[in-house]
Symmetry: C2
Subunit: 356 residues, 2 copies
């Protein structure tokens, strides 16, 4: 790897993502130069062992621009302006066409290759950073047509060093992809969540796990997501219009009592859930849910998972349903359909109250 | 309890919900009479110990109508027609105004009290039933203005016997509540999921946990949910129009580059997520997410939860993120914000790879 990425790596913006990349590079033995407009972030990231502040005259093999969405274009341009002959510049912004357009005419454009790691956290800032943040996550590499092959390889090496899975897409394809898999779902989740604001408490008493799942992402920072979604306005608007048209169809079907039309829309949604790649990138396997009542205090989940482990049945997913009004949690264990009966029998023989 | 619900209880429709209610009643020592148009369901439910088939001349203290949404009205009417002088009739349908309207003129209307347990399963039929299905779940009781107090008390006793938490609402309020907390979220989740159907696989490679959560409920049976949502068309249509209007605002904000407008819509959604009642019905407490990398084979989750249990920190929620492309799961543990550092330290000292 050191041949492909000799170092040093310069990280511009020592927030959550930038500092996590810096930590992963340091773990791989690569020198890291840090810069940030906040002296506090810079001190914190340095103190965490993520690298040392960049000094005048330092030249990096790879500059990673990790600044907020609205400042990406100018920061990439500044990095290209200051770059050495052999320096490659990437960024980790959530949208890719807009920052590329901002530097389209730059003399060193061939040495810019955008990228986007699909990882984050509810927290921000260098203190939340981790060298493992990207472990196993998709990381889009969005080379433009004029990008140098060596530049693309250097960015791919960074992705590898961070333990992420590279996904090669053009900038325009990337933006369409995240509009579909992230930005439009986020907006719709926000609209659903918005219908709960100000609702009567006795109505909200009927809230179940379903709407909690639908609205979870709407808990993200509005200022950040308005930058992200607003920065991908073209792709988002196209898809949002499609959703609006289908919402009008749904509204007509509901208002007209058109059950067949309603069922057809719901069936289209069901097909969509089946298009989502499954665990380890493979197709979704048929899973069955096993529900277990678990007393709500420390140690009980450990006892449950010890018994699950002893059964030899692997857990595909797990969910804790918070039962309003009583100190018992309902844990949903998703397992391969073919193993569900075995798990049920194993847990019941150990005294757990279960049902499918 | 036996004074308020002397038995026998008659369950009409021995599916998942009906058989689960029957099992809970049997556990409480109450006689149960079963009926179902499917002789197979009747045999299965009887075989599970849920009761015995109703014979001509049997008279129940409480009839529980648990048939599919589209047959509720006629089944409730038939139960009222056949009922004895002291028999109370309830149903467990997902909508409440329509079945009430179907029997509005009945001579025995005062002895009908609708209800709706907020519980279910991906599976259906008596084999999936469990006496614990309703444990800790909200169960709406929707008495109409003319309902007899003794009838309401008898239904509330059933809810108590099933271990559920009664929520008293008028039928119209109930239908508005579930439109908001269930039906509209389901429809919107379906519309989001629909945008994934037929999408390019390389775009879907960027799918993260967010859109999986948003679309999970869209995996439900379209035929069943078109009955449920279609049966609550009035309340759903009102709310869906609100969502459509806000979607138009979002579309304008995106298309016009109106970041402030977009941020305001997202902030409204954030406020909505905070309106959702928290664990045990209390207000949401501030939780922090702790992420742990876990090898994907049996026993590892047990080891993790044993170490979590030893830390003494209670887990509010847990989620397994399926990392495409590598055999490591990322487990997200949600804990009280004040305990997160303690849990991180405890897990790291036991060799787990963690980050917040």
């Amino acid at each position: 790897m050191s041949d492909l990425l000799p170092g040093p790596v310069e990280v511009v913006g020592a927030g959550l993502i930038g500092t996590s990349i810096a930590l992963a590079c340091r773990r791989a033995g690569i020198d890291v130069l840090l810069s940030d407009t906040s002296p506090e972030h810079l001190r914190t990231a340095s103190g965490l062992g993520a690298g040392h502040p960049k000094l005048p005259g330092d030249v990096a093999a790879l500059v990673v621009v990790a600044v907020p969405p609205d400042h990406l274009g100018e920061a990439i341009e500044a990095a290209l302006d200051a770059a050495g002959e052999d320096t490659v510049v990437t960024d980790v912004g959530s949208v890719k066409a807009a920052p590329l357009a901002a530097v389209a005419g730059h003399r060193a454009l061939s040495r810019y290759v955008g990228s986007h790691p699909m990882a984050g956290s509810e927290r921000s800032g260098p203190l939340a950073a981790s060298a493992d943040l990207f472990s196993g996550r998709p990381w889009a590499i969005t080379a433009h047509a004029g990008a140098a092959a060596t530049a693309v390889r250097r960015v791919a090496t960074l992705v590898e060093i961070c333990g992420a899975v590279p996904v090669m897409l053009t900038p325009a394809e990337h933006d369409k992809a995240v509009a579909r898999t992230s930005h439009v779902p986020h907006l719709l989740a926000s609209l659903v969540a918005g219908t709960l604001a100000g609702a009567a408490p006795e109505h909200l008493a009927l809230t179940g796990q379903g709407v909690r799942d639908v609205t979870r992402v709407a808990g993200g920072d509005p200022a950040l997501y308005s930058q992200i979604i607003g920065g991908n306005s073209e792709a988002v608007a196209v898809l949002l219009r499609e959703v609006r048209d289908r919402l009008d169809l749904a509204l007509d079907a509901v208002a007209d009592g058109d059950r067949a039309g309603l069922e057809s829309l719901l069936a289209h949604g069901l097909a969509g859930t089946r298009a989502i790649p499954g665990k380890h990138g493979g197709p979704m396997q048929a899973v069955a849910a096993v529900h277990v009542a678990v007393p709500d205090h420390p140690g009980e989940l450990a006892r449950l998972f010890a018994d699950v482990g002893a059964s030899g049945v692997n857990i595909e997913d797990v969910r804790i349903d918070h039962d309003p009004g009583r100190p018992v949690g309902l844990v949903e264990l998703d397992v391969a359909e073919s193993r569900a009966e075995e798990l049920l029998a194993a847990l019941e023989s150990r005294g757990w109250v279960t049902h499918r």
